[in-house]
Symmetry: D3
Subunit: 125 residues, 6 copies
């Protein structure tokens, strides 16, 4: 993978998900998980998130909707924190998850709301 893309993506990733998260996942990655972390940095965070066509607020909103649909609560939790960092309000997150509940099914909505409440009760960002 392109080292410049990994670095550029890791920077965006830290801005969105927090430097702590990047330190714990990317920096401390062992040999086994290193290529996965690099793939995420280059591919998600540089090739997609660093494209200029949508702002970060919109990209966070899309991720909350997709991660609810995909049933990935641990990634959803990270990205709810990221959404707050990117300027989405709790009220806008509420709207996104309500829309997910109707399009992905009520159980998907119930699960997503529980994850969001965990984030907010832990102090949010």
């Amino acid at each position: 993978m392109n080292p410049e893309s990994i670095t550029a993506g890791a920077k965006t990733r830290a801005q969105v998900l927090g430097q702590n998260h990047v330190n714990q996942s990317l920096t401390k990655a062992d040999e086994f998980s290193k290529p996965m972390e690099e793939l995420a940095s280059a591919y998600c965070w540089d090739e997609i998130w660093n494209r200029p066509g949508l702002d970060r607020r919109m990209r966070s909103a899309l991720n909350l909707a997709m991660l609810s649909a995909l049933n990935r609560p641990q990634q959803l939790k990270l990205h709810i924190k990221g959404a707050l960092n990117n300027g989405l309000s709790q009220s806008e997150i509420q709207e996104i998850l309500l829309q997910a509940a109707v399009y992905c099914g009520i159980p998907a909505g119930m699960d997503a709301f529980r994850v969001a409440r965990e984030v907010f009760s832990e102090g949010g960002v």
Copy 2:
């Protein structure tokens, strides 16, 4: 179901997906599909789409992402038309589907792009 909610939702649905679509689905619904059409009008289109917390452009964007994740090409096709009606450009739709490709997997992205191209080649809106 609340008749006022069905009516208010059907109006929004026609503004987003086009009056032709509503005429074909909601107005001509037989006894079998009528409650499904009414459920969609009241719950999707009134209870969710008519909430003021997100604008229609954002709601369309969320739907394109979720319908790609959920693997529902026929609904995706309708909502790509709706997204154009709601002011998303082809370029923004491209960005949304690229993000979906990385989060939902490349096959989901390939399928979503094919659906979008069908819409655009049919004249879009």
Copy 3:
């Protein structure tokens, strides 16, 4: 696979999905698809459908709900015909698919209703 189980399952399968379907799929299966057809006959149709703990009407209802959730329209179509054969009314099928719409999401419901209407317009049973 146990030949007796394949035979017993194929018999149940023909009773539920129709002898025509079994003739087209099981009897005419080439070398490539034969083990898949036998697996379906033995495991779905004998090990599950021939268990006495639930009646066929209930088993058909469960399948309509699961096939809507699993997004498998071709199998759903076959099993809507099977559900009619097993004594579910169009009105009961409507109820099952409405429940699926709320739990699996409105797009799943819309797709399932379209499949059901195709079956009914083709003459149903």
Copy 4:
């Protein structure tokens, strides 16, 4: 949302999932989760569960099958308790989950059986 529908749904929800569950989720909901809880009450529990076309025993059975397919163990756990309240026996729940195992895949079946055993070992209802 229609306040009468929320109230009517909450009543049915308490009868199926238990008054304790409703107290913990619906009554104690904060501002963030309140619209999700109201959506579930009105939309799942009044618009669907209160329809007369299927009895509660059947609706519970459908939910166990769908929640196994949808991979939602927390909601499945609640609805296994609900299924016992609605008169399904442990043996019938066993049959439903075996059918889910064959149609949704063995891993879905293994996960669903583990959830069911947790419910039964906690005293069931």
Copy 5:
């Protein structure tokens, strides 16, 4: 179910997933989960795993890919242990999960890598 198939499958299952796992799940199964355990033994482990057409190393690889796609972390954990038993190296498991990340989406890859690291940190086999 065919008792010989259950026995033959349980033997293969113990060779792949470990005798401890079989003792805990199959031997200690109560009346409720016994038919599920027998179905898994006969159907997965005898009818599929005992077929001669693919070696166990390949079958383990396929399972890691499918369980990542299907979002079943508990079954994935068991089968990562099984993959090590069947001769896949940590490096090959890494390759499989990277491929899953691109085809099933980055969140699926992140979750699968976390599960794999848990297995390796617990001592692997």
Copy 6:
């Protein structure tokens, strides 16, 4: 995206899926789908397929299993052709899809076998 990675991936893609496929998709891509095609070439076909850790025969096998699980018949069709190009026999493809049927559910297996038969009846490679 790295132009060298796009080129290297497109070459591998043509070797696996056929030059015709690449001509139709990658070369003729319009402005809208070009970044999706480039993303697929660089990330699937260069970053993953060009990694030395697994041979192409294994990577094709993994894809057949994942695309069956992910319910993506059009991509599955392409990759069954690719699997034949990469040296998997019809008999090995049969084994992979049978294993998918048990782990992803019988409907997934039935759909995958139908896709495979379409490929073989069209002359396969």
